[in-house]
């Protein structure tokens, strides 16, 4: 396969070049060099390029010729093409018209100002987030009130279906995770407490930690990742496909039909999962204390009876429905914020999970302060 060429024809006025060979993208780097190597100074005010020898021409080749012409033009010279084969005329004419607009280099934003701008936008965005959270909470509250007035309007089938999905189907994974967490806490406790002969207190630590904090926190985080994201994705895809608008035009309230059953199911499921998870964590802790710490199950149970009271259990369980409410409200409000595109669906699902885990942990902190001040 031949290479493209651009040769100066010696002598004569005006300066004449002869282009030949395939002027196509395959030879892109050769073409760029060829065109770049033409010297502007030595040429006469009028330059002719004979392109009769060009066998093939595509946009890149045509643009390379046009580029050369414009370089001469900027230099105050004139370049004309001679003996243009008919089949290339259209392409050359077309290329002659493009890239005429003078490119204005976009002003690079000052880095400090850009930083400040993003902080400002995030702050305003925080206000919007809070607003949509409260709106959703309010809408759920209103629809709950109307259910209390007319209990028959509750979508019981839907609520039970979601309870099955977020409760029953979540049990195995919750049991497994909390079991492992309980076992790890016990193992670490025994390992470190043994150094100063306090390994018996591992039971206190596991019992209090699991029942008050870890049980509900781990389960909430898992539910946010597993069920909250599913809620956001479901509602988001319904929003994308205009199903929610369709529902509204038929005279139904999407909050009542879609959101309330989901949130109710979550509020019912999370305390149950927390209870099961806490038991599983205690079981894991006991098993490790027996197998790794050499503490018999009888002693473990006896010590746990001393170490914990019903208060610890209550503190953990009281938090669960509130966690569920936060997860449900965030998941549903993010779902309804999905716009037309699939990217926004993915984005909102991620946001939903991040936000609900963040809020779950913040809420846990608030509860810790609250219970400390009322002495529980």
């Amino acid at each position: 396969m031949a290479n493209p060429t651009l040769t100066a024809i010696a002598g004569g006025e005006p300066t004449t070049f002869s282009a030949a060979g395939p002027w196509i993208a395959v030879h892109s780097s050769a073409l760029e060099q060829l065109v770049g190597s033409v010297s502007l100074q030595r040429a006469t005010p009028r330059i002719v390029i004979d392109i009769a020898g060009v066998e093939q021409l595509d946009t890149l080749g045509a643009w390379s010729l046009e580029r050369l012409a414009r370089r001469f033009q900027d230099h105050g010279q004139e370049l004309v093409f001679a003996r243009i084969p008919d089949r290339f005329r259209g392409l050359l004419d077309r290329v002659h018209d493009v890239n005429r607009e003078i490119s204005t280099p976009r002003a690079k934003a000052n880095r400090v100002i850009a930083g400040l701008e993003s902080v400002g936008r995030a702050t305003v965005g925080f206000k919007d987030d809070a607003k949509s959270f409260l709106e959703m909470l309010g809408a759920i509250g209103i629809s709950l009130l109307s259910i209390i007035v007319r209990p028959r309007t509750l979508r019981l089938t839907s609520a039970v279906h979601h309870l099955y999905r977020v409760g029953w189907q979540a049990i195995p994974i919750m049991l497994l995770i909390t079991f492992l967490i309980g076992a790890i806490i016990a193992q670490q406790g025994i390992f470190h407490f043994r150094k100063f002969g306090a390994d018996a207190y591992v039971v206190d630590m596991v019992g209090i930690l699991v029942l008050r904090e870890i049980g509900v926190l781990i389960v909430s985080i898992m539910v946010a990742g597993r069920s909250g994201s599913a809620y956001t994705a479901e509602l988001g895809s319904m929003k994308m496909r205009e199903e929610i608008d369709a529902l509204r035009t038929m005279g139904f309230d999407p909050v009542e039909v879609l959101i309330l059953p989901r949130v109710l199911a979550l509020v019912c499921a999370l305390p149950i999962l927390t209870f099961l998870g806490s038991m599983s964590a205690l079981y894991g802790g006991g098993l490790v204390a027996w197998l790794y710490g050499g503490m018999s199950p009888e002693i473990f149970i006896a010590r746990i009876r001393e170490a914990i009271s019903v208060t610890h259990f209550e503190v953990g369980m009281v938090k669960a429905p509130f966690m569920a409410l936060v997860i449900g409200v965030v998941a549903c409000s993010e779902g309804l914020r999905v716009k037309g595109s699939a990217e926004s669906l993915g984005l909102q699902t991620t946001t939903s999970v991040v936000k609900s885990i963040f809020l779950v942990i913040v809420l846990d902190g608030v509860f810790a302060i609250f219970f400390a001040s009322i002495g529980m």
């Binding site: 089949r87 607009e101 595109s341 699939a342």
Partner: protein, 259 residues
């Protein structure tokens, strides 16, 4: 590029494609000539897109032969497949622009991968392509999600044309566009076809496109090409499906407007 002597850009013979027990394309044969615009019509769900996707190698065939520019895809090695990928451009129905890249980066993507050229030349070429499909320089900085339907089609066409392909496959290029945009798109396709000497394989439902831009039309029914030829020949076809397609109410309304 070697100067090729054969006259057909795509030749499909005895092609059979099916999913499970369902046979979609049944011993289908079709020839696309070099430099022509061929329109493919057929019932919804009748296998038009399946034919297109089989030709470009996305759907495996059960039997038959597909030759593109004299090359059989399933006998080619990966290097040859990559080479052939440079010689065709495909406009997918939804545009299939890469959502994480701007329009300009979308157009530059195939060039950057296949050509060794400087960034400034890359930039100029991308702008040239943008302007050739009727978009402005500023549109190049937008992301696909910010484009309207018509702009998405134009941007996707610019990407399909990035490497100056010989064959362009268009999957329902005017669907979802208003009649004015669809008309402009038709004009654009035929202009570009003349400028670049393209072979165009177009799946379409748009009767206006068929009348105005297509050199030949192929009708797909019952998994076979039942009629192929210039539009006026198809209008005279006796095949019942073709007859109802071109002489149905909607077609008659259109004919009434133009004649």
């Amino acid at each position: 590029m070697v100067a090729t002597v054969e006259q057909s850009a795509i030749s499909v013979s005895d092609l059979m494609v099916g999913f499970g027990k369902k046979i979609v394309l049944d011993h289908l044969s079709l020839e696309v000539r070099r430099g022509e615009i061929l329109g493919l019509v057929g019932a919804s769900g009748g296998g038009k897109s399946v034919l297109l996707r089989t030709i470009i190698g996305l759907i495996p065939k059960r039997q038959g032969q597909i030759e593109i520019m004299g090359m059989e895809l399933d006998k080619a090695d990966p290097r040859e497949i990559r080479m052939i990928g440079r010689r065709w451009g495909i406009l997918f129905q939804q545009g299939a622009l890469f959502s994480s890249l701007t329009v300009r980066q979308n157009i530059q993507f195939p060039m950057r991968e296949n050509l060794e050229i400087s960034d400034s030349l890359l930039e100029e070429l991308a702008t040239a392509k943008l302007e050739m499909v009727g978009l402005s320089r500023d549109d190049g900085d937008k992301f696909p999600s910010e484009l309207s339907g018509g702009m998405t089609k134009r941007a996707a066409l610019a990407r399909a044309l990035a490497l100056d392909p010989e064959i362009v496959f268009l999957d329902e290029p005017t669907s979802g566009l208003d009649p004015i945009s669809a008309g402009e798109f038709d004009v654009l396709i035929s202009t570009l076809q003349r400028t670049f000497g393209l072979t165009v394989f177009m799946v379409t439902h748009d009767l206006d496109s068929l009348h105005t831009v297509c050199d030949r039309v192929a009708a797909l029914a019952d998994g076979k090409v039942v009629a192929v030829g210039p539009m006026r020949e198809l209008l005279d076809s006796e095949h019942p499906w073709v007859k109802s397609y071109f002489h149905g109410d909607r077609a008659r309304v259109r004919a009434g407007v133009t004649h």
